[in-house]
């Protein structure tokens, strides 16, 4: 079974989804990601979906779940790289992904996570 790699960038984790998601893969990703957030003491999670041409309600719910789980573990989730057509489809489906923060690309996603962490506790050490 394909596995989705989780990359560490500073105190952030980067997940790039490039294959079709299905139930077991989504569950495995949630397992791996929560493990890694705890193990690496990550403060931010970026999920890159720029390779996805179709995002349905299943993936939408998975993204919401991951965001909620990360929040419990004190990490900010940012979904990056959504395509215009995907955004329009999600809105038409009524899935605004209101629980998730979004950014245009990985660069902006990192900057956003930095801003959020800094505004939450300005005195926190920047773990490299």
């Amino acid at each position: 079974m394909a596995e989705i790699p989780i990359l560490k960038i500073g105190d952030c984790l980067l997940v790039s989804i490039q294959v079709d998601m299905h139930d077991r893969l989504a569950l495995a990703l949630q397992d791996d990601l929560t493990e890694r957030i705890v193990a690496d003491r990550a403060r931010g999670v970026m999920i890159d979906i720029s390779a996805l041409e179709i995002v349905d309600s299943f993936i939408g719910r998975m993204l919401n779940n991951i965001a909620a789980m990360s929040r419990v573990l004190d990490a900010v989730t940012v979904v990056v790289g959504m395509r215009p057509a995907v955004a329009i489809t999600l809105v038409e489906l009524g899935l605004g992904l209101t629980g998730v923060r979004t950014a245009l690309n990985v660069d902006k996603g990192l900057a956003l996570i930095r801003r959020i962490i800094d505004s939450e506790d300005p005195d926190a050490d920047r773990v490299g």
Binding site: P84, A87, I88, V91, G96, L97, T102, L104, G109
Partner: protein
């Protein structure tokens, strides 16, 4: 070959010149064609019409003008309708061309079979039906052409009225003009999202100064656009809300969940502040303390 086509065919063959002259006279009288050029055009068209009618009637299996044998004549009528639409003629002025053929045809029929009332009535009925269907076809073709023109204009209007402009590095503006319906929302959304991708903007100002009314449907479309932009990582600021529209929004109990500013200028100021830029009045700031560099 059907009876009608046969009779018309022989009429045109034998009395071609006379039919043409009388038809043109009728046209001149009914349609009020003035000017030598217009008359020459009508004569040319009438000649072509009679030629095509003769040829079509010669090969036609039936009076059904939608059959393939009648295609050249249909093309001629399509052509006629198209030029008349472009020249701004009304539907009546266009179809009178076909209908005015009745008078000379009936006149010829009467002369041919003057003594036999039964035959005359039958032939007049058949001929009349053929001319009527041709006339109706012209009307249909006329309105079809008009609809094409209207659709094209709608499309052009749609493209004209949804520009996305870059106000500042990273700040886009979307001045909406006219009513927001589903089709326009779709286009507005697509062009906004495309520009967000190409420019990497993080703030989009949606200005609704030019939107005449905001009802629940328009609000729904605005919300869709705003959440789609948010999914692409851009925040939206709504601006240009007129006092009446503010009242309507409250009365309807609409919740837009977005930062809104009264004017585009206020929205731009907020956008600049958010992106960490300051606008300084140099005359004022220079006097008390020069900037420490």
């Amino acid at each position: 070959m059907s009876g009608t086509s046969n009779v018309i065919l022989s009429l045109i063959d034998r009395h071609y010149q006379r039919l043409l002259t009388e038809w043109l006279a009728c046209l001149k009288r009914d349609a009020g064609i003035g000017g030598a050029q217009r008359e020459a055009e009508a004569a040319e068209l009438a000649k072509r019409f009679l030629e095509e009618l003769r040829q079509c009637a010669a090969v036609a299996q039936s009076d059904d003008i939608h059959a393939s044998e009648w295609a050249p004549l249909r093309d001629l009528l399509d052509d006629l309708s198209r030029t008349r639409v472009n020249q701004g003629f009304s539907a009546g002025e266009t179809t009178i061309f076909v209908f005015s053929l009745k008078e000379p045809l009936f006149e010829l029929l009467r002369r041919e079979m003057g003594k036999n009332a039964d035959d005359l009535a039958r032939e007049i009925w058949c001929t009349s039906r053929l001319v009527d269907t041709l006339g109706l076809y012209t009307v249909e073709s006329y309105s079809r052409t008009r609809e094409e023109v209207i659709t094209r204009q709608q499309q052009e209007l749609l493209e004209l009225s949804t520009p996305v402009v870059e106000l500042w590095d990273g700040v886009l503006a979307l001045p909406l003009i006219g009513t927001l319906d589903s089709a326009r929302t779709q286009i507005v959304m697509e062009s906004l999202l495309e520009r967000i991708v190409t420019s990497g903007a993080e703030i989009a100002i949606i200005d609704i100064t030019g939107v005449p009314t905001v009802d629940t449907l328009v609000a729904q479309h605005l919300i869709k656009t705003i959440s789609a932009a948010r999914l692409m990582g851009a925040d939206c600021i709504l601006s240009g809300i007129r006092p009446q529209i503010a009242q309507t929004i409250v009365h309807l109990g609409l919740e837009l969940n977005v930062v809104s500013k009264a004017t585009m200028a206020d929205a731009l100021a907020l956008a600049l502040r958010r992106s960490g830029k300051a606008v300084v009045d140099r005359a004022k700031s220079a006097a008390p303390a020069p900037p420490a560099e």
